[in-house]
Amino acid sequence: MIARLAWRSVWRNRRRTLITVLSIGFGLSFAIFFIAMGHGMYTKMISDAVRMQAGHITIEPRGYLEAPAVESYLKSPAELRAAVQRLAAVQRTKLLVLGQGIARTGSGTVGVALMGVEPSAEAITSPLARRIIKGRYLSDRDGPWVVIGKTLAERLGLRVGMKLVITTNNAAGELVDELCRVRGIFATGSEEIDGYFMQAPIAFARRVFGLPAGAATQLGVILASPDDQEAVLAKLRRLTAGQDLEVEPWQKILPQLASYIKLDEGSNYVFQGILIFLILFTIFNTILMSVMERQREFAMLQAIGTRPGQVMGQVFLETCFLGLIGCGLGMLGGAAAAGALQHWGLDLSSFYGGDITISGFAVDPRLRALLTPGIVLGMGAAVFAATLLLSLIPLRHAGRVNIVDQLR
């Protein structure tokens, strides 16, 4: 009977109840939508960055991170690679030769990072291969060919097919020059990458840096799902224990990206927090009001023998109903909105009039949310729990009425 009483009492002030559940619903929808949107954005940024660079997890010689120089390299990574590749969570591995140098043409000289990659595998997963605007991406048959960024091409006056010289200190410590040609020009939208980064077939990169056949500076590990990162990280550390290797997550390799995401997520949480606070304030207000205007009723109920606990139970149930309806609406609405953004995406390039980069990392201008059950259920449960907690204050007012005063 208490449940029936509570349910009907919820609908007694239909307008107020509707306003309350709608504001919970809208607030929660927004929160879920924005979290899923952020999640989608970050996941895409990370996935692009790790595919273009050294993977979710990078295995490299100890000390490489602190002092990146080609002298320390993985001498025969083939066996390690095969072992890593056997892990179920690993989508693919990439062998990299990464070093610094100077690119020179008749028009100028620019410091560059040269990354040697396995072209056919790279072409499938790296976003760079899809951002070629002139010429084409590298192929396995290519010898001394490179793809360079749009900005670098402008600075060096390079077009597809033209020559440039790369000067580096090789692994033996000698200063060497290598001649190569431009196979393609890419535009990622990121100044750093477009102005500073170039890729070549790994065999040519080994030649430039004086590494033996089969060697690499890094072994990049790309995961099918980023959620497995911690587990795989632990496995790989066990696998490489005792060797002079370091196994690092992308957050260590790309600290700017990691800290950008952290910061952005943080400001997202603040926004989310304010939103949730407003929702909770609304619901608190509604419960308190509905309790205050029914003091006389609660007094009467207790006068005829209802226990204070039963009266409080009724109000608690009313809050549950409000919270359940509101959170239900919010979870549905948020999931629908985020699901739509996940399915169709939103092309932001018209808003920004071009490419978007965030601290040097190109962002796909097509914004897509990434909805997980965790986001929807987690947010819904959090708001519901907070609602119940907040109801404890009005609840006490319902249980502690002064019967005689109220009935006078």
């Binding site: 009977m1 009483l5 009907r8 005829i304 023998g305 209802t306 039963q310 019967i403 005689v404 009935l407």
Partner: protein
């Protein structure tokens, strides 16, 4: 038969901002089962205060109260609640029905609190609602009923659990005198046919005439107690 209500030397002081109001100044009163007694007296004479104390809703400043063999002074809050639920029916001036419940649901409310099984509850409430003249209106909500009908539901709610005592504070004050008369007829009939003991307050002379015992309160004291208006002075 044993005494149903025995109030002895009841005083009640209200203190507000240093000003003390002596609402009751030593009231003693006994009530036997089956009585139909009206408490009368000018406004502010202490009728409501005394009813609240007898009903276990309020505590006296001094004096003792016994209801149905229990000393209220000795009972804690929750025991008082149980006493009200199981031994006393309450009728209020302003009906105080739950607006979200139907007539039947309001009338069976206390039975539900007592845990009376559904079938038994249904039988009793149907019978009581018929007795108070609301057969066929069981499923109406209070807002679909007139004031007099709402008070009939309240009476049904008070008597359905068959309490030892029904307390009613100005039960007819919110309705017109004709309706008041019919409510009084109803209470009298319940008293005669079912032996329900009533103690109510009123300042409606027409209602007083129908009571079989009149208790006159004046300035917090019993100024008269008798069978009719002629027995007591100063009404």
């Amino acid at each position: 038969m044993s005494t149903l209500v025995k109030a002895t030397d009841i005083t009640k002081d209200y203190g507000q901002d240093g000003v003390v109001t002596h609402a009751l100044r030593g009231v003693s009163l006994s009530l036997q089962p089956g009585e139909f007694a009206a408490m009368v007296g000018p406004s502010g004479s202490g009728k409501s205060t005394l009813l609240n104390i007898i009903g276990g809703l309020d505590r006296p400043t001094s004096g003792t109260v016994e209801v149905d063999g229990q000393r209220l002074n000795d009972l804690g809050k929750s025991a008082l609640g149980e006493l009200r639920r199981d031994h006393i029916g309450f009728i209020f001036q302003s009906y105080n029905l739950l607006p979200v419940l139907t007539a039947r649901e309001n009338a069976e409310y206390v039975l539900r609190l007592q845990g009376v099984p559904a079938a038994e509850r249904r039988r009793r409430v149907t019978e009581v609602l018929a007795e108070v003249g609301l057969a066929g209106m069981e499923d109406r909500f209070p807002r679909q009923l007139s004031g007099g009908q709402q008070q009939r539901v309240a009476i049904a709610r008070a008597v359905a659990p068959e309490p030892a005592l029904v307390l009613a504070d100005e039960p007819t004050a919110n309705v017109d005198s004709k309706t008041g008369q019919s409510l009084l007829d109803l209470m009298l009939r319940l008293n005669q046919d079912k032996g329900v003991t009533f103690l109510f307050s009123t300042h409606d002379p027409a209602v007083m005439q129908r009571a079989r015992r009149l208790i006159l309160l004046k300035d917090g004291e019993v100024a008269g107690d008798g069978e009719g208006l002629e027995d007591i002075d100063g009404v």
